[in-house]
């Protein structure tokens, strides 16, 4: 394998891990609603969403295991479970918005709206990736994301344009989460390296569409669009919020307590 090919391989591996980590963290967060949701039907619905994200993480990590066979890097000889459950906090590269707690229901739905609007645009483009495995995962993800957006859009309207209390909770959620949104549009070294090969997608170009759509929904929901005067970053460098360790302690407990355990 020549230098360019091996660089593409390395970058694709890192890209898969990044996307897998995003999915795993949010999937894990959403499972916290299981048995806890406002009503029974919503409990099932939101658990379904969690499963969609966990399933996605599984696909990305499986692909990463394949790719790692031809690299000398960190993930060589690791299984999907090793990658999902046994890394230290700094080795996970999820974006920060995915590790934030579930908060109240308004907070969860606001984060979903932000993420779902992004995913619908992003995975539509990634479905055209020159890497056929990533394209296939993206195509599947797009279908799921369209349904997720339907839900988060409706909940935003229902809660935003709802009672005084639900409106307040939604506005607080929007204000608290807004600084985590710019990170969605940042490109890693790997993603930039994969652009010429048509494997990755330019995230930055999605910002205008995303902002226009979310502005419209917020306005419909009688919510204010925050000024965007603060932002946080660091996830892709493994620098996480104080919430990450707590999330990992639950996620990793079983595999660390009973190494090698499987169904």
């Amino acid at each position: 394998m020549n230098d360019t090919e091996s660089k593409i391989g390395e970058y694709t591996l890192q890209f898969s891990i990044d996307l897998g980590d995003d999915s795993l963290m949010l999937g894990q967060r959403l499972t916290e609603w299981c048995r806890n949701a406002p009503m029974l039907e919503e409990d099932l619905a939101i658990s379904n969403v969690a499963l969609d994200f966990l399933g996605r993480a599984n696909m990305y990590y499986e692909y990463a295991v394949e790719l790692a066979k031809t690299t000398d890097g960190d993930f060589r000889n690791q299984s999907v479970d090793d990658i999902a459950y046994l890394r230290d906090s700094r080795a996970y590269r999820n974006l920060l918005i995915f590790e934030m707690p579930i908060g109240d229901f308004a907070y969860t739905m606001t984060r979903q709206l932000i993420v779902d609007l992004f995913n619908v645009e992003y995975f539509a483009l990634l479905s055209g990736s020159c890497d056929l495995d990533l394209a296939a995962i993206a195509a599947k993800t797009l279908k799921e994301s369209k349904y997720h957006l339907r839900r988060s859009h409706e909940w935003t309207l229902r809660l935003g344009d709802g009672t005084e209390e639900s409106h307040l909770r939604m506005q607080n959620a929007v204000d608290e989460l807004w600084g985590y949104t710019p990170e969605l549009f940042e490109m890693t070294e790997a993603e930039l390296g994969l652009l010429p090969a048509g494997i990755s997608v330019d995230r930055a170009q999605l910002f205008d569409t995303w902002d226009a759509r979310i502005s419209q929904i917020l306005s419909e929901a009688t919510l204010d669009h925050p000024p965007g005067d603060w932002q946080v970053t660091g996830g892709r460098a493994g620098i996480h919020t104080e919430h990450h360790g707590h999330l990992l302690s639950e996620l990793q407990y079983l595999q660390r307590a009973y190494p090698g355990l499987n169904w």
């Binding site: 029974l40 039907e41 099932l44 619905a45 409706e154």
Partner: protein
């Protein structure tokens, strides 16, 4: 002073990929028809049970009553001429 807001009950009917008719599969509570449809999708099609969903407000369904059963259904039992039992249907229209 808060008033109890009633979340309506919906009956759910699902048609499977190979089916011809929607079958009653259960019920759920939702705040409106759109949400009822989505919750039906989430609760009753998780294992690919169907490709079409109908939701109907339970209150919109009119049901026959047990005490009417005798006058509703017994009279049919001695009217065999209403069944086309002597006709042989060709295979191609067997599902009519």
């Amino acid at each position: 002073m808060s008033t109890q807001v009633h979340t309506p009950l919906y009956e759910v009917f699902v048609r499977s990929k190979r089916g011809l008719d929607h079958k009653h599969v259960g019920s759920l509570h939702a705040e409106g028809p759109e949400q009822a449809l989505e919750y039906a999708r989430d609760c009753y099609t998780r294992r690919s049970e169907g490709v079409s969903i109908w939701v109907v407000k339970s209150g919109d369904i009119t049901c026959s009553q047990e005490e009417d059963a005798a006058s509703f259904y017994d009279p049919m039992e001695d009217k065999p001429y209403r069944h086309a039992t002597h006709y042989v249907l060709p295979d191609s229209i067997k599902n009519m």
